[in-house]
Structure formats: C-alpha cells, structure tokens
C-alpha cells in the first residue's frame, strides 16, 4: 500500500504541535548493570511502579523494583543494545497495550505490537489501556447464569462452564489441553455466526505463553481455516521471547478482553499456560534478586495468578451506574487457564494454587488419552463449582442421569473382566457405562451444538442403546444426528430455542432411534 504524503505531513504537523505544548520535565537515570534481560538503573527519582522506561536504541523496559538508590527493571527488547552508562528516561506511562476491535483477527505480542506481518494496528492513543487493572468489585458483578458452550459433550454435559467463570484445564503434556481450547474457540462461532460486529458473538482471546512458535502458527492456521480467526485475538509470547514478555502476555491479553467486557460483550480468554508463565516470572524475579520461596518461586506467585484470574467476571447490568469505567453492563470475561502437570501430580505448588483460585477444574488424564477416550476428561475428579447454575434446564436433567450412570460404572469397572459371571444388574450398569463413555468421545475440531448433544445423550441415558454394540455407537451417533437434522429439524430447533427437551420431542427421538438402529452395522 502506498503512503499518501499528505497524511504523513498532517501527522508531522500534529506531532510537532503537541510536542511543543507538553510539559517536558523528565526523570532520568543511568544504567548501572545490564544482563539476562534485567537492568539496574541509578537515578529515576520519580519513577512509578510498572512504569514504562526508555533506554537508548529504542529498547523499552518496565520498572519492577523500586529501591533506595536504584531501580530494577526488566527489558522488553534486545538487551545487547543497552550499555552501562546509558541514559534512561521515564515516560510517565504505566505499561499499556492497544485494545479494541482493530485487534480482532490479529496476532500480537505481549506489548500489543502486531507480529502477523499485516501492518500496523488502526488504534488511537485512547485505545491504550494499562495491562494491570483492578478487578470488578463485589457490587459490580452478578452471578454466573448463562452457559458458555464449549461444544464438547463431556464438558457441556458434566462440567458446565458459565460466562464469567474461571475453569482450569489441567493435565500432563500431550493430553489434548490445547486441542480442547481450540475446540472451545471454534464452538463460539455458533453464538453469533462468527461476525465480530454481532453483539451476541462471543469474542475469543488466545494467550500463548512459552509455547512453541510452531504451535502458535498451527493454531492460527486452524482458526483461520474454520473462520474462527475473525472474532479472535492471539497474543503470542512464545518460548523465544524474553521471560518478561512471557509473563506480561497474560495481563496484556486480559486487558484486551476487559475492553470488550466493559462494553457489554461476552469474551472467552484462554491462558496457555500459567505454569510456564510462573516459570518466566520466577526467572525475572530471581534476576531482580527478589527473595525466593517454595520451589524458588517469589513470594507473590499466588498473587500473580489470583490478580489475573479475578479479572474474569460477569458484570452487573447496572455496573455503569456504579463505576463509569464500564460503558455497558452485562458483559462477561470467561477465563480458561491451563496448567501443565508433571506425572499427573495435581498437588504440586502451581497447580494447587491455581486450583484454589479457579471455580473448578477439568482434569485431562494421559491414561484415558492413551486408552482412546478423547477428550481425555476424567469426569470423576473434574468439577465446575458455579457452572451448574448456568446449564440449560434440558441439559441439566439429562446430564444428571448420565453422571449417576457413569459414577456407578466407575465403581464396578474393576469387575468388568468377570464378564458373564456377574449378575444381570451389574452387567446392565457396565453396558450402560461403556456406551455412555463411547458417546462422550469426540473428534478434534468438530464441536457439537448443544441441541445435538442433548439428543445423543438422551439416547444413551434412556437405555435405548444398551443393545447396540459398543464399537458401533459412534457410527450410530453420526447416522442418528443426520437423520434428526434431515427428518425432524424442528426438534433440534425446539431444544435450541427453549433449552428443554419436551415429552413430545422425546417420543419423536425414541421413534428416530428405533428407525436408525437397523442401519447400524453389528
């Protein structure tokens, strides 16, 4: 694209005019030491906590340690460009990032600078918000009562997530954590047709911290391919970026989400992952010589995560009357933080911290994953503490029965190998459990609308599938849902609009099951 010379001149004029008008007393300091991405600066008497500093060579930094005679700061760029004795200036600005609709569909770094090669962001000075903002107070919030559909059967049915909730995704490496998050983002397309201007569209933010760059590229390509990138912002601080960027990315992403939340929109933010963020924070804090605590993490590592996750909230409808910061009430920010565990150890330091902050956790287990149960959600120890209130009535009723069936199945699972030696009731419970487990399996990147989920789970819990072979269940699901969509589209539509499964609909579904069963092989 060609630059129009007049535009550049007009900027010049504006900049020159405003430059001369401003008050220009600055606080300056001198670099004492620099290395490992941190610097100590002498002087800077009026420096603020978290203030953006300017070093020579265009490198920026943030003041994190204000001490008696020096300031400890992290560098947000190439530390090779900073030398001892360099002059450092304060900017009078707390570190902030651009926010707003201009970022949707873009990939940015922790400072909000675009890194997708698609040119600068169309944002103004007013779009910049500090990355650390106070969480909404008690009176500015309201209870979680609207479901956030992830499109994943096992989650929407048994561990429902509500808008404004914080639900931890926890599990070892290679258990499908990121896949689950991508599915959730893709699933949000159903809320507003993928049009970011539609006020019903849930906007998504994916914050990658310490991830491989190839993972981020994969994710962006995948989201673009299914048309989910239009309503998504990707904040990337991958493994190659400075530790400071990796730990700040979460707050930057959160501020971008808050902007939409405060304008009354619903936002889903994913932090992938908070364990690596804590490692980056530990590195920076040890280099700044803050005293190490347990596992060498600094003492405020709990606060690091709690102040981030507290910003997820469902705003009250009258929030703008209480605090003018909110433009419109009723918005929400739903957080799905991820924590990677080692050897399924959920009792390690960071996992226990985050479990205690969040409103529940979804536990992904490698043994289930390897047994072919994907998504590998361990329904036994996964919980959602507030999502139940947000679940639709129809789903709540059906899923309640499934929870019970599955719990009984798990109790008896150890006896499964005795086969026909068992009494009839036990055999029935085992058969039901096996089929329900099969129903909960789902392929990657194909989130299921909740009306389809209700229909197939109803089919499983009503016992109609007990005589269908376990290996044919997924084939049945496919034919059954196709049949329902072709022959009885009004049933799905009815569930979608009313949220309940009526008795008449049940009769139609029972008939459909009977009609589909003979088509299933085996």
């Amino acid at each position: 694209m060609d630059l129009r010379p007049a535009e550049v001149t007009s900027i010049l004029e504006k900049e020159i005019a405003s430059y001369q008008g401003g008050r220009d007393m600055q606080s300056v300091g001198t670099v004492l030491t620099v290395g490992d991405g941190v610097a100590r600066v002498w002087g800077l008497d009026d420096c603020m906590m978290n203030e953006l500093l300017e070093f020579g060579g265009g490198v920026r930094g943030i003041a994190l340690n204000l001490e008696e005679d020096n300031v400890g700061c992290v560098l947000l760029g190439d530390s090779a460009k900073v030398k001892e004795g360099d002059q450092v200036k304060t900017t009078g600005r707390i570190i902030s990032v651009p926010t707003g609709p201009a970022l949707l569909g873009r990939v940015v770094n922790a400072l909000g600078d675009p890194i997708d090669g698609r040119g600068p962001l169309a944002v103004t000075e007013a779009d910049y918000l500090p990355i650390d903002q106070p969480a909404p107070s008690v009176v500015e919030r309201q209870g979680v009562d609207t479901p956030m559909q992830t499109g994943i059967k096992s989650i929407d049915a048994m561990i429902p997530i509500g808008r404004g909730q914080r639900e931890l995704i926890i599990g070892d490496r290679q258990t499908g954590k990121t896949a689950l998050l991508i599915d959730s983002i893709i699933s949000q397309k159903t809320t507003g047709g993928g049009d970011p201007n539609n006020p019903d569209q849930v906007l998504c933010i994916y914050v990658a911290m310490g991830q491989k760059q190839s993972t981020v590229v994969d994710l962006v390509q995948r989201l673009t391919a299914v048309g989910a990138m239009e309503y998504t912002i990707v904040v990337s601080a991958s493994a190659i970026d400075e530790a400071s960027m990796q730990y700040l990315a979460a707050y930057a992403g959160c501020s971008m989400g808050e902007r939409f939340r405060d304008e009354g929109r619903d936002v889903l933010i994913v932090y992938d992952d908070l364990y690596k963020q804590a490692l980056a924070y530990r590195q920076v804090m040890l280099l700044l010589r803050r005293p190490p605590g347990r596992e060498a993490f600094p003492g405020d590592v709990f606060n690091l995560h709690s102040r981030l996750l507290e910003r997820a909230a469902r705003l009250a409808d009258n929030a703008p009357e209480i605090n003018p910061r909110y433009k419109k009430g009723g918005g929400s920010l739903t957080a799905l933080p991820v924590v990677e565990t080692q050897e399924n150890d959920v009792s390690a330091y960071i996992p226990t911290n985050v479990i205690s902050i969040t409103d529940g956790q979804i536990f992904l287990e490698s043994s289930l994953f390897n047994a072919g149960i994907r998504p590998a959600v361990n329904a036994g120890i996964s919980v959602s503490r507030v999502g139940g209130a947000a679940q639709t009535k129809g789903m709540k009723k059906i899923a309640g029965g499934m929870r019970l069936d599955l719990a009984q199945y798990r109790e008896l699972q150890a006896f499964a190998q005795f086969g026909s030696d068992l009494d009839k009731a036990t055999q029935r419970t085992l058969a039901r459990g096996e089929r329900l487990t099969e129903i909960l399996k789902q392929d990657q990147y194909v989130p299921m609308p909740f009306q389809d989920q209700i229909m197939i789970i109803y089919a499983g819990t009503c016992g109609a599938l007990d005589d269908v072979a376990t290996k044919s269940i997924r084939e049945f699901e496919k034919i059954f849902l196709q049949h329902m969509a072709d022959s009885h589209p009004e049933i799905g539509e009815g569930i979608r609009t009313s949220g309940v499964l009526s008795d008449e609909a049940k009769v139609t579904i029972d008939q459909a099951i009977a009609a589909v069963k003979p088509q299933v092989t085996g």
Partner: protein, 184 residues
C-alpha cells in the same frame, strides 16, 4: 553516583559537625581526606585488601592527626566497621548534603555553543523555580545536542535540544496510527 551507605555516614558527620558549630573545620578535613585518597598511586593503598588493615590504619592516622577530633573519630569508626570504602565518595556525599541543607542543587546545561553568564543564570532561575531549589548550572558544550539546550539537575531533565525533539518526533511517528490503514 553516591551509594546509600556513603550518604548515611556523610549525613551523620555533617549534622554532628553542624550541631557543634565546627562545620568549616570538618569540611576542610573532608576535602583533605578526599585529596589524600584520590591521589594517584597513593590513594589505592587505603583500599588494597592485600595490605593489612593495621598498616592502612597507621597510614591514615598520620594524615588525620592534625585534623578535628570529630573527623579522627569518624575515620576510626570507618576502619572499625570495615567501611573504609566510604572514603572514596565521602567528599561528594558531604558536598551534596551541604547543598541540600542550603536548598540548593547543582546541574549541567548542555548546549551546542558556549552560553553567556546571563543565559545560564536565567536558565538556572527558571529550572530552580520548577524544582523549588536554588540551582547553579555549569555549561557543557557538546555537538550532540545540535541546537537548543538540555538541562540536567540530579535525576531531573528538561530536554529542549534539537536532538531530543528529533528523537521524540521519531518515536511518535513510529507509533502513530496511519489514517489510510484505519479507513480499511
């Protein structure tokens, strides 16, 4: 750059000397000490870890014997507490404290050409009003500023130089949103 330990020792000596009305004598002593430890070839001896502390003490005692009682005690205390390093910047810290006491500050004004005494004085008055102190400025001529002046007092700076303005403009242009892109 004065480290906090030095300023604390200097402050203690200063207020004690002022309280007893012997500030002039002690100030002169401090200047003499600064010359002694700063003398090429000789000064480093006092901070040389290979030399025993007693030998260093003996040598400094020969310098301080004609000094005021307070200064003698001060130097002895430094060696007792193994803080002989304080002597390096003592004079600067002492001077700084004296300036603070008078509500004064010293700074530099950088310019591309040498400034006249009147110009420096008016700059000092203007800057002093901003800081609430009586400011004395020293002129430093450097080509780097290109034009205009840059005044630095302590950790406060007013950059009215051409170089500073160009840098600021460069930075602002780098971050300004282009109207042609926002219209997309």
């Amino acid at each position: 750059m004065i480290d906090p330990v030095t300023s604390r020792y200097a402050n203690a000596l200063f207020s004690l000397a002022m309280g007893r009305g012997v500030l002039d004598a002690v100030s002169a002593d401090v200047e003499r000490l600064a010359r002694e430890v700063g003398a090429p070839g000789v000064g480093d001896f006092y901070f040389d870890a290979r030399v025993s502390i007693d030998a260093r003490r003996l040598k400094i005692a020969s310098v301080t014997q004609s000094m005021h009682e307070l200064t003698k005690n001060f130097v002895n205390l430094l060696f007792d507490k193994r803080r002989e390093e304080v002597l390096r910047n003592l004079s600067a810290a002492f001077h700084q404290r004296a300036l603070d006491e008078r509500g004064a500050a010293e700074g530099i004004v950088e310019s591309a050409r040498a400034l006249g005494a009147g110009e420096i004085a008016s700059l000092a008055t203007a800057f002093g009003a901003e800081l609430g102190k009586r400011v004395t400025l020293e002129n430093k001529v450097t080509d780097d500023v290109l034009g205009g002046v840059r005044v630095i007092v302590g950790s406060q700076m007013i950059d009215r130089s051409l170089r500073g303005r160009l840098d600021g403009l460069k930075k602002k242009l780098g971050t300004a949103a282009l109207p042609s892109l926002s219209e997309q």
